[in-house]
Each structure stands twice: as C-alpha cells, then as structure tokens.
Symmetry: C2
Subunit: 316 residues, 2 copies
C-alpha cells in the first residue's frame, strides 16, 4: 500500500509553509521553535524527495518557485485539516489539565482574568493558562487562542459568544492637567484638549470619547495598552477614555465628569464551537463568567467610593 520507495514526511510541509510565508529560514525557525539549520535541512529533504525545487534564494530571502506555488494550496489544505483535527480532539478532551490559551485586553486581564485563574489553579493545579494580551479580534478564528474576552461581538459563525456583562468607561485625566487646562464642557467636544488614544485609529476610526467629538483635539499619546494610557494620563499628558474599574483604582487620575454615568460596552466571552464541550475550556469559561458576575457593579460603574471622593475633589 505504500506509495513511494522513499516516503516523505508530512511534517516537512509545515517547514515549507513557514518558509514560504516568512521568506526566511530564521524567522520560519523561530515560528516553529526549532533551529534554522533544521528548517534548511528539512526543506532540502522535501525537495529531494518530491524531486522538485520549491524555494529559490533571492537577494532578500526565499521565495517560492513555480513548483512551490503549485503545491502551496495542498499544503494549506493539509494545515487546515491538521488544525481542525487538533481542535476537534481538544474539544473531546475530558481532562481538566493541559493548556488553555486565553486572550483579552490588558485592563480586563488585570481586573478579571488574573484573579479568576489564580483562584482556578488552586482547584486545578494541572491547568496551565497561556495569556495573550492585545486588541486583535482575529485570534480565535485563526485558532491562535482557545478563549477570547472581547468588547465587540465577532460575526464569524463558528465562534460561540456568551454575554458576560457590561463594562463602563469614562474620561480621566490628572488633577493637575484639569487644573491647568480646565474641565471640558459636556456636549462641547474635546477641541483644544490633549487626548490619549489607540494607535490603530488616527482619530478617524474612533472620533468620539463618550460621545464627545475629538475635533480639534491634540493627540498627546497613542498606545493600545490601556494601562499605559492611564499612566500617560496620570503623568498629565491629557485626557484618556479608560474603563472605570481601572481609572477609579488609580489615585493619580480622576474622572473628568464625575457625575456623568459611564459609557457602557458589552463584554463577550468567545469560544470556538468545537471547543465548547472541552472540560478545561468549560472550567475556565465558567471561572471567568463567575468572576465577572461577582464584580458586576465594579466593572460597570468603577469604584463608587473613589468616584464620590473624586467628585468632591473636583468640585472644590
């Protein structure tokens, strides 16, 4: 039944794909977590066994030859099947052990995830959590993570979303900044103030802070990490839109409009449908859901005590 005198290794396809995608042996090696030597050798072997040259050296890195292009589609098909297979197997794993890859924003990681999984690991010491922070929504669909906690609901049909609750955010700045520049008037926009925004949008994609126009505002700092944004606000850089649970916990910033209710966004827990039934996924998902529900008020309104204190301060 064996088809070839010298049967080739399916695994080599992973090496070929990595080099074809990254364009260099070294970056492919990093991606695959092996030495670059190994990558080169495996590619050479694959080419020898298939009897075709797949990659050619160019001034800047490797590029696929025509033959390489011709098989790329089948290689991708193998990869896709392999990923499916892996996920389906993980979904049938009834043990509460192994690795769960989790992705969420920095702020929610601090407030919600880290305490939840610390407690969880008391009960399940064999469970390991890989936490990847960032704002990319693509991660789950590309299977770079098992669970995502997101403030936007993804539309992809194979992803299952569970509503966690609402997260409130408000505008924050340092006391000194507000004293120096004054407090913007609600409903008049943030023109002539300094704002701290996310990098992705040059103010075009996110032109509003709590409904206030950023028209005419100076962008002081752009950073995708909300904790760094908060740090920037605390250092008197300007006004940032922060989650209330975050801003209220930091003594160096206060709400710009203490009496204004927070702007609410819904938080979703996102899982690939194949992983829904996995025991360890369920355990982690429900630990996060529980943690969210325990902190429902804080996540929505921030820390009430701090808020009234800040309001009192601001009024003086």
């Amino acid at each position: 039944m064996n088809r070839h005198p010298a049967t080739w290794q399916w695994d080599d396809v992973r090496f070929f794909l990595a080099v074809a995608r990254t364009g260099s042996l070294s970056s492919a090696a990093r991606m695959l977590r092996v030495g670059h030597v190994t990558v080169g050798r495996r590619i050479a072997l694959l080419e020898k066994r298939l009897g075709v040259v797949l990659l050619s050296r160019t001034p800047d890195g490797f590029s696929t030859t025509l033959a390489g292009q011709a098989i790329l589609q089948q290689c991708a098909a193998m990869e896709s099947a392999a990923l499916d297979l892996e996920r389906i197997a993980a979904g049938r794993d009834s043990r509460v052990s192994g690795t769960v890859r989790l992705t969420t924003t920095e702020a929610l990681a601090h407030q919600l995830v880290v305490p939840a999984i610390s407690a969880l690991r008391q009960a399940h010491p064999e469970l390991q959590i890989d936490l990847t922070l960032g704002v990319r929504v693509l991660d789950i669909a590309r299977r770079d993570a098992d669970i995502a906690i997101r403030l936007a609901r993804p539309a992809t049909p194979e992803l299952v979303c569970r509503k966690l609750g609402e997260v409130g955010s408000s505008l924050y700045a340092s006391r000194r900044y507000l004293a120096k520049h004054g407090t913007p008037r609600r409903g008049q926009g943030l023109g002539d103030f300094d704002v701290i925004t996310y990098t992705g949008a040059p103010a075009a994609a996110r032109p509003f802070f709590m409904g206030e126009s950023l028209e005419g505002a100076r962008v002081a700092t752009r950073c995708d990490n909300p904790l760094v944004q908060m740090r920037a606000a605390a250092d008197h850089s300007g006004i940032a839109e922060l989650a209330c649970f975050l801003g209220d916990a930091e003594p160096d910033v206060v709400r710009v409009w203490p009496d204004e209710p927070p702007a609410l966004r819904t938080a979703w827990l996102v899982v690939h449908q194949d992983l829904r039934r996995s025991a360890r996924i369920k355990v982690v998902a429900s630990a996060i859901t529980d943690a969210f529900h325990r902190q429902l008020a804080t996540l929505r309104n921030g820390h009430a005590v701090k808020r009234s204190a800040a309001a009192a301060l601001a009024r003086t």
Copy 2:
C-alpha cells in the same frame, strides 16, 4: 505564531490512519514499512499530545474510539491533500529519473511492457519501473500507480486515457482436449465443455466467450492470471479465452476456431491528469505507445504463421 506548547507531529496521523484501517499495529507497520514498535509509540505520543484516546484494544485488534472516529475525517483530508501535493509535485518533475509505477495485466506485461521498458532503460538508466500486475482498475484513481494499461476505459474524469490500439483474443485449448471432447460449434455455445475463467465472475459477470454462451459449461479452473489460464489450457483442463499474441506463442495450445477472426478489445493507456506533463511519465508512456504500434499486427491477430499452421493441424 506557534499554537501549542508541545506541537504534535503531522506524520503521526499517517500512523493513526494505518492502524485505524488495518486494525493492528503489525499490519500497519508493514504498510508503513517501519517496525511495529514505532507505530505503537507514535500512536501513544499522538494520543498524549492531543489529550485524547484514539484507539482501543479489542479481542481482535484495535478499533477507533469515539474520539478517533471524530478526527478520522480530518485525518483523511490531510492524507488526500498530501497525495494531491505529491502527485502535483511529481507532475512538475522535469527529470527523467526516479520511479514510475506501472500497472497492467500479466499478458500485456510479458508481451508489451517488459520489452518496452528494457529498451527504455538503456536510454535512461536512472529510471526505475515498479510493475504491479493485476486486473484492478481502481489503482490509478487511488494513486497506487502512475500509469495503467487497461482493456477498459475508466470513467473517472481526472484520468487521461490514450487509445493504444486493439488486442485480439480467441478461444484456445490443447490439441488433446479438442481430440477427446471434440470442437464446439461456432454459434452453439460452450455447453458441456470445460472452461477456464476469471475468478471475479462466477460466470455471471462474463457469461460469454467470444459471444458464445457459457450456459451449461463446466468451470474447470478460475484464475485471474492469463498466463496461468493458458497453462491450465495447455494441461488439457479445457477451453480458455486468451489474447492471441499469447495463445499463438504457446505450442501446447491451439485456437479452437482457427479461421475465426479474433474478438477485439481496445487497449488504453491511463494516466492521472496531474502527471501528464511529468517528463518521466511522458517518456514511459511514449515508449509503451511505440512498442504497441510496432506490434500492432501481432497484438491484434496473434502470430500469423502459428495460426495457419495450427489451422492446418486442426483440419487434419
């Protein structure tokens, strides 16, 4: 970008598939040309890495668990992509070296293929021919062979057929058998004679020899190998339908009806479309086509000299 702390080996899927299909470690090992120990180890590793038990021991061999069934489809998809990939690569191989897997019937192998490839290998010593004999038509579509020479045109769309020419066959028996039982009359069927047929059909699928009904005939021997059929006829077992080039070359058998023209069947050369452009496939295919054309008369009518001699003999 690496998805798992301990990345699994795609190659292990081949081991799993082999065991799932054969039901035992040893036969899977033979199929994969490795030791049975390796198969067991790889399966164990795969199960450990996926965190799922894929195979369970039963009184007679291994059988797939529910989890194993769940991933079988993805495994097959990987295999299919791998085979496609292999074939496409082979189709782009411009060297005239390596292995060409050829399948045909025993008779045509003797008469046509062996001389053709012997001559071919003078010109291309690096070319190796794997010759698989048998009547199965499925081989090419399942990619167990690169080239097939068949007397029936397969309907599968991805296979490319080239008409080689016509092969004539006739009924043969030993002189002693005909002397003892008499010569059947043309048009009256083979009732009350002994016939040598193929195994596949219990006379139901092939109820005719040169248009003669086998109704009432005794089946003396069934064998899929035409050379063995001829041997049986030579040993006075009964009447066989043989290719003329074969029967005419054997002194111990004669045509039952020497003056009857042979029954003609078209011979096809079958190649997978992906392999059409491969240099070595083209070389072998044209060598076979040439050999066929050189022997056109012989393949159609057998050996004329022998035939008239036999006819003379039969008439005495």
